[in-house]
């Protein structure tokens, strides 16, 4: 089930909120059990077949964690169990997400013709796997202990974070699930959670989704883009991605807040960052935290030589890229970010800080260009787009991609013109919003709930978003 679906918005979420607080009057355990069951149902709605994978992952990790916590409490360092647990998790992820990637590379290198497994990727597996790896490490360190199976299931499956993060820590969630004072309706949280949810839904369906056809079409015409096309394509995807992902995260945080649960912040106006280090403190923040705490530091972090540290930057980010998907383009994207950190390290040593606006611009352009590699189906397509952006195919302002070929053309059909102008307006609004001082989390937190116009504005926004949840694009047969 997706947050931006009618079944979630009009049935699941209201029913869960009502059921959770009603049951909490009877028993905190019952409320948590209900929430866990509802979260599993939320996952199963997408594809019932994959519930067993989630169940197997939870069961194994619960048992590993149980053992690690017990041994840690007894002062026993059970590194073998931890290793086994991590191998199990990476094995599961490797099988479902990376098996065909490894087979393809094996075939390419050896000339073999091994068959692909063609395993369907279970939704959210990257997120629930990383969440549980972090839990095992914390349990091994004695920082986390969970002996209640119900609570553990809830920790892993809690529906707001299950499919797309944030990647949470056991220690930041369990006290909240255990706190009885949070099991009563808190209207302040309900209001701010609702506002954040509405903002997130709006970001997703009113901005990101309408930009998707432009980005998709630009990438589909990668090999024939003009200079102007290249820039539109690159920026459309840069904006689509941040509004999509941060919008979805806002909905997660908002839905959780309505249940009095605070999830960690995941986006903080990342495109306003003045360097790549700041970017990763603002972009997918819980992944950055995971990579720092569970990859970079265990591998040595800042403890070794400068050269080793810089190599670790690149390795950590390359792994982070690989986590995003089973393709070399993701690895390259991550590696580029690692290299950018190395460049930043030396730039700082030179002692010539850029003026902030220029630094923000440079960072934004680097992030956008790297995202072309992230999004493109092949490196060849990515390089073709980047060549257009760099003006290597000429500096012409021809608008050749169907979605925006109406620009500067006469005799455009009214429907095409209206659709095009609307999307262009959304593009411009998205660009402005990206650089505005306050993001959706800050807006929701600072909301003056007493102002009538605020209430009406949010009511209207929510209604508009509900209407745009179902926004199918026209079927345009490619011949006619």
């Amino acid at each position: 089930m997706l947050f931006n679906s009618y079944e979630f918005l009009l049935v699941f979420l209201p029913a869960v909120i009502l059921g959770y607080f009603a049951l909490a009057r009877l028993s905190a355990w019952a409320a948590n059990a209900f929430l866990a069951a509802a979260s599993v149902a939320f996952y199963a709605w997408w594809k019932l077949d994959f519930v067993w994978i989630l169940a197997a992952s939870i069961t194994a990790n619960y048992l590993f964690g149980h053992r690690l916590s017990r041994d840690s409490a007894a002062g026993k360092n059970d590194r073998a169990i931890l290793t086994l647990g991590i191998v199990f998790n990476l094995g599961l992820l490797g099988y479902f997400k990376y098996a065909d990637f490894f087979i393809a590379n094996f075939n390419a290198v050896t000339g073999a013709n091994a068959s692909f497994l063609r395993v369907a990727l279970p939704l959210g597996i990257s997120f629930f796997t990383f969440t549980q790896i972090a839990y095992l490490v914390d349990a091994w360190k004695g920082k986390a202990a969970e002996y209640s199976a119900t609570n553990y299931v809830l920790f892993v499956t809690f529906f707001p974070h299950l499919l797309a993060g944030p990647i949470i820590h056991h220690k930041e969630m369990m006290p909240q699930f255990a706190d009885r004072s949070l099991k009563r309706v808190d209207w302040e949280n309900m209001a701010r959670g609702l506002a954040l949810f509405a903002l997130g839904l709006g970001k997703k369906v009113l901005i990101a989704d309408p930009l998707a056809p432009w980005a998709n079409s630009g990438f589909a015409h990668a090999q024939s883009l003009s200079f102007a096309d290249g820039w539109i394509t690159m920026l459309a995807y840069t904006l689509q991605l941040v509004f999509d992902f941060s919008g979805y995260t806002d909905m997660a945080l908002g839905a959780a807040l309505m249940l009095n649960i605070r999830l960690p912040l995941n986006f903080d106006s990342p495109y306003r960052s003045a360097d790549i280090q700041e970017f990763w403190r603002r972009w997918h923040m819980t992944l950055s935290r995971f990579l720092r705490d569970y990859v970079y530091i265990p591998l040595g972090g800042n403890r070794g030589s400068e050269a080793r540290m810089l190599v670790l930057f690149v390795v950590t980010f390359a792994l982070g890229g690989f986590w995003h998907g089973a393709a070399w383009t993701y690895v390259l994207w991550g590696t580029l970010h690692g290299v950018a950190l190395v460049v930043l390290h030396f730039w700082r040593k030179l002692g010539h800080p850029m003026p902030r606006p220029l630094a923000v611009l440079v960072t934004f352009l680097f992030v956008s260009a790297a995202l072309v590699i992230f999004r493109a189906p092949t490196l060849d397509d990515a390089l073709a787009i980047l060549r257009s952006v760099a003006g290597l195919n000429g500096l012409g302002l021809a608008f050749t991609v169907p979605e925006w070929s109406w620009i500067g053309r006469s005799g455009v059909a009214p429907a095409e013109l209206a659709q095009g102008v609307l999307t262009a307006a959304i593009f411009a609004v998205a660009l402005v919003l990206t650089f505005t001082p306050r993001n959706s989390n800050q807006v929701a937190a600072a909301l003056d709930l007493r102002m009538p116009r605020t209430r009406y504005a949010y009511g209207f926004l929510l209604a508009l978003a509900l209407v745009f949840v179902q926004n199918p694009t026209e079927f345009i047969y490619f011949i006619f």
Binding site: Y6, M190, A463, L466, V467, F468, I476, I479
Partner: protein, 377 residues
């Protein structure tokens, strides 16, 4: 204060959503609940998968013509003139077997259709049996009679746009209003050999059309999942399948992509699979040399002229080209031989060398020993 905020935000949002639902239900732009009454019917080419099921449920007819864009220009009146009865054209651009199965299923459940005339397009059987030609999720909720799942239709902005356009008389979207030409697209198209081969890459004939690859097993599975249950479930309905003609370059494309043998095998398999059903007949125009080898019938390698379209109806009515076991084998042998002896470069060069006809609106077609060409209005 916070409670009031929640109440007003939710109350207002739900009230506005309810207003949209009521408005869309009242206008009903895709005729999901009733035949267009309040506003003149509009047939939106880009929304056929949304609109066709409503037409199937609420319009009067006893025959359905369906298929991909090849069938969109069949005019119901022309069919009725030849075959009698009352025809509706429910064709769908890039129709897959799944699209057809869903649509015909919805139509057959009404008990109205006594005769289905459907083009069997090989590309329709590529991919998984539940593959729609539509990249977005298939609007299944438009194909049943349940009200509870209609929210995407009633609340969606796509419906709202069409409702507003209908009420305000706007003509922003592309649509037809003539029930005889709901999906007609041939106006302005020219049919002659040089046009048919325009933009083709002889080394990659599929580059322009980007048809997905097929497997024989996949095609069979798609047929079994989507069409066989309808044939078996509605024995009182006559199913007339036709292999509407392609230009020879399509067969050269199949050969180029290694799809020729499996396509021919599929033809044979479909024939054998449906032989036992008295309510099924298949007409095969794929191996008629005077069509397939004469590119003046076409505007591109797939799409033929309206004149030919009418002639096919006449030919089927007269029982010509109806497949027999000998014909399947003979036609397959001919197709295999032509596809392997001609080359794309040669065919394209010949087409480009052909003079443009004075009236490039397609050639009349008279089958060997044939009939008088149908009158063109």
């Amino acid at each position: 204060m916070a409670r009031r905020f929640v109440s007003i935000v939710l109350g207002l949002a739900l009230a506005l959503a309810a207003a949209v639902i009521a408005f869309n239900a009242w206008v009903d732009p895709f005729q999901h609940y009733r035949k267009a009454e309040r506003f003149p019917a509009r047939f939106y080419n880009a929304w056929q998968r949304y609109e066709n099921p409503g037409l199937a449920k609420h319009w009067d007819y006893d025959r359905i013509v369906t298929g991909s864009s090849l069938m969109e220009c069949v005019i119901p009146e022309d069919v009725d003139r030849v075959m009698g009865g009352k025809t509706i054209n429910l064709s769908v651009s890039a129709q897959t077997a799944y699209d057809a199965g869903q649509l015909l299923g919805a139509a057959l459940r009404t008990g109205k259709p006594k005769h289905i005339v459907m083009n069997l397009d090989y590309n329709a059987f590529s991919g998984a049996p539940d593959r729609s030609g539509f990249t977005e999720p298939f609007p299944r909720y438009m194909y049943d009679d349940a009200l509870w799942n209609d929210l995407p239709y009633l609340l969606g902005v796509g419906t709202l746009r069409k409702s507003l356009e209908a009420v305000l008389g706007l003509k922003w979207s592309r649509f037809n209003t003539d029930p005889e030409r709901m999906w007609y697209w041939m106006e302005g198209h020219q049919f002659f050999a040089a046009k048919a081969v325009q933009g083709l890459d002889p080394d990659n004939l599929n580059a322009r059309f980007r048809q997905p690859p097929r497997t024989l097993e996949g095609m069979k599975a798609s047929f079994e999942a989507n069409l066989a249950p309808l044939i078996e479930g509605y024995p009182g309905t006559r199913f007339t399948f036709l292999y509407a003609p392609y230009a020879i370059l399509v067969w050269l494309d199949f050969e180029q992509r290694g799809q020729l043998d499996l396509t021919l095998a599929f033809r044979e398999w479909v024939f054998e699979r449906t032989r036992r059903y008295p309510n099924v007949e298949i007409f095969d125009f794929h191996a008629e040399p005077s069509i397939v080898l004469d590119l003046d019938h076409f505007t591109d390698i797939y799409h033929y002229s309206p004149r030919l379209s009418q002639a096919l109806i006449q030919a089927m009515h007269e029982g010509r080209y109806k497949l027999t076991p000998e014909m399947v084998r003979g036609n397959n042998a001919w197709l295999r031989s032509v596809a392997r002896t001609k080359t794309p470069r040669q065919v394209i060069a010949e087409a480009l060398a052909k003079p443009m006809p004075e009236s490039p609106d397609g050639k009349f077609f008279v089958p060997p020993g044939g009939f008088a060409p149908p009158r063109v209005n």
